[in-house]
């Protein structure tokens, strides 16, 4: 589920445990399943991009429900060589909007943002203090 243009997109070592709340399970998990189906069908990254875009265009995939939240607090998560296990964080999915909707990505803001493409989804990310096992997260 890395972005299509991410060099780690097909990194077989990537492991990203998520816990999704009910609205996110209903509205975001179908995207994960669709991406997985396309990957397991042997499609290339470009073909997957086109398949996901078509699925949203045909409304075969739902838009994020209000209040879609997900936890990523596993110390064992692995994003790839660049980010390792990154940090514990929460993610919020909303229908595509500007970064500034939540003041994200601005100097000093604790909110980070990832604009999906081709999915019409914006992901806001907030780092938290501890991993799910209760140990402290890195401070920087």
């Amino acid at each position: 589920m890395a972005p299509f243009d991410d060099p780690e997109f097909l990194n077989p070592d990537q492991r990203l445990p998520l816990c999704l709340n009910p609205p996110a399970a209903r509205s975001h998990l179908p995207l994960t399943f669709k991406m997985t189906a396309l990957a397991l069908a042997g499609l290339s990254g470009t073909q997957m991009f086109d398949g996901i875009k078509a699925a949203f265009d045909k409304k075969e995939l739902p838009m994020p429900e209000a209040g879609s939240v997900c936890y990523m607090m596993s110390k064992q998560q692995y994003f790839g060589r660049k980010y390792g296990n990154a940090d514990p964080h929460l993610m919020f999915w909303v229908p595509k909007t500007d970064d500034t909707f939540w003041g994200a990505g601005l100097p000093g803001s604790p909110v980070y943002v990832h604009q999906y493409s081709p999915e019409p989804i914006t992901e806001f990310i907030i780092s938290v203090a501890k991993w799910s096992d209760g140990t402290d997260a890195p401070t920087d």
């Binding site: 009910p22 003041g103 000093g108 799910s132």
Partner: protein, 235 residues
């Protein structure tokens, strides 16, 4: 600020956090609080308008608050002091935005610096303005909440918009006698739902919640690492 002022042992443990309002019995605090009724209005006002503007802006990083609208509290309610251009609105809330049973409800020292994003400015801030209007009209705490119920019933207050959130990162804020400025945090406003809808208030969860029937909403709160001035939260 509302009902999410919390008692915290500290983010060092994230172990003991209790959201006020979730456990207090209505009106039970009246007999114990040092603030049983409204103090003279002057004690709630900030004499220097520029000081109030700066305090309001300190709720969010300068990159957000410099282009925000700023409202200040006058004798007749909140008024726009600085026009904005990014959709955010920064204000300093006073004690009466706390929950009906909060012992600090009439604490004149409270200063809840907060910057709302555009959806919250449109759909949450009217609640603060309405409460302030009732209080400045001389209403008691109980009467204010009765008036608020009537306002909701008459649909004089807007429904919360999706994505309504706010910044409370001011080190200069004062949120309660018990906790001072507490911790820098973000707040998310949603129509009333259970805390569990976001996994809030569970042991180890980084999300706190306050279910506020009087305000017909649930407020989710996520502490963050730094104050708006870039310094780290000491706890």
């Amino acid at each position: 600020m509302n009902q999410v002022i919390v008692k915290a042992v500290g983010l060092g443990t994230l172990a003991v956090m209790v959201v006020l309002g979730a456990w207090r019995q209505p009106h039970a605090a009246d007999a114990k609080t040092p603030y049983p009724s409204m103090a003279p209005l002057d004690q709630y006002l900030i004499a220097d308008r520029d000081v109030e503007i700066a305090l309001a802006r300190s709720a969010a990083p300068e990159s957000i608050s410099r282009d925000a609208e700023v409202m200040v509290l006058g004798r007749h309610g909140y008024e726009t002091a600085v026009k904005g251009k990014n959709g955010f609105v920064c204000v300093v809330e006073r004690s009466w935005t706390a929950g009906i049973d909060d012992p600090d409800f009439w604490n004149p020292k409270l200063r809840g610096a907060i910057c709302f994003n555009a959806p919250a400015a449109r759909s949450y801030l009217p609640l603060t303005i309405k409460k302030t209007e009732f209080v400045l009209a001389g209403q008691s705490r109980v009467k204010m909440f009765e008036s608020l119920k009537d306002a909701f019933d008459r649909k004089e207050l807007p429904a919360l918009e999706p994505g309504s959130m706010s910044y409370m990162l001011s080190k200069q804020a004062y949120l309660s006698d018990a906790d001072g400025h507490w911790h820098p945090h973000l707040m998310f406003f949603v129509p009333q739902t259970e805390a569990a809808a976001w996994g809030a208030n569970f042991p180890g969860s980084p999300i706190l919640a306050s279910v506020n029937p009087e305000d017909r909403m649930t407020v989710f709160l996520v502490p963050v690492a730094k104050w708006s001035d870039g310094t780290a939260d000491a706890n």
